[in-house]
Subunit: 110 residues, 2 copies
DNA sequence: TTTGTTCATTGAAATATTACGATTAAATAG
DNA sequence: CTATTTAATCGTAATATTTCAATGAACAAA
């Protein structure tokens, strides 16, 4: 147990869950928000910006990178991160239709 | 450790994470999708619809109910669930601006 | 009343996630 | 070459999540 039974669900449902997981921790939300606010690459100052230890930030960045939502380029001795526009749009195309479903209920029994 | 350091983040960041967590498991995505598809209350057949044990479904329903995204009414011997429209809209108002941020980068160093 | 149905709760086991100290790797500066 | 800086990785500890068998509570039907 403790193991998500992925095979019981559709690809779409698993994909929605996978992307949602990226935003399911405030540190990752904060990292992404900072990348948007800066509106360019962030080189190095993420550890100062967010108040967590360097290995922790590094781990969150790794997860976001594995999902493809951000990308990192080595810039001398530091690493620069930014949003991966294409994959961010892919994520939006997956999540928005789910979140934006129509709420008109034909019959309301509740 | 293993404990999210909520106090390091803004209320908005914690709220985004909290809502995203609702969608971070395919079973909960499937439950919500079924409620949307049926477009009315679902009484009972969620366990058959999703292939997980009854206590597991019950727990996922509990989490969605605690977040306010769904509501349940007792209907004789069964319980009817449906989307809570008002809170679903609140959730959308929190998540959509985050997901829909502008992607025009002034300078691109990546 | 007894039996069956439906769903919540409890308890426990397994896996996942979060966090950080210590270390390593790579690049630069002197 | 050595020291410094920056970030990834390793190892580990703590908490969280997922799952389900067993049980309980509420109600309906017999």
């Amino acid at each position: 147990m403790g193991l998500t039974k992925t095979e019981k669900f559709t690809d779409q449902q698993n994909t929605v869950a996978k992307f949602a997981k990226a935003f399911a921790h405030p540190a990752r939300v904060a990292i992404l928000q900072h990348l948007f606010n800066i509106d360019t690459c962030v080189c190095g100052d993420l550890v100062n910006e967010i108040g967590l230890a360097q290995p922790t930030i590094s781990q969150h960045l790794k997860e976001l990178k594995q999902l493809g939502l951000i990308q990192g380029n080595i810039e001398g001795t530091s690493v620069c991160y930014c949003i991966n526009k294409e994959n961010w749009n892919n994520m939006k195309n997956t999540l928005l239709p789910f979140l934006d479903q129509d709420l008109t209920q034909k019959t309301s029994c509740c």
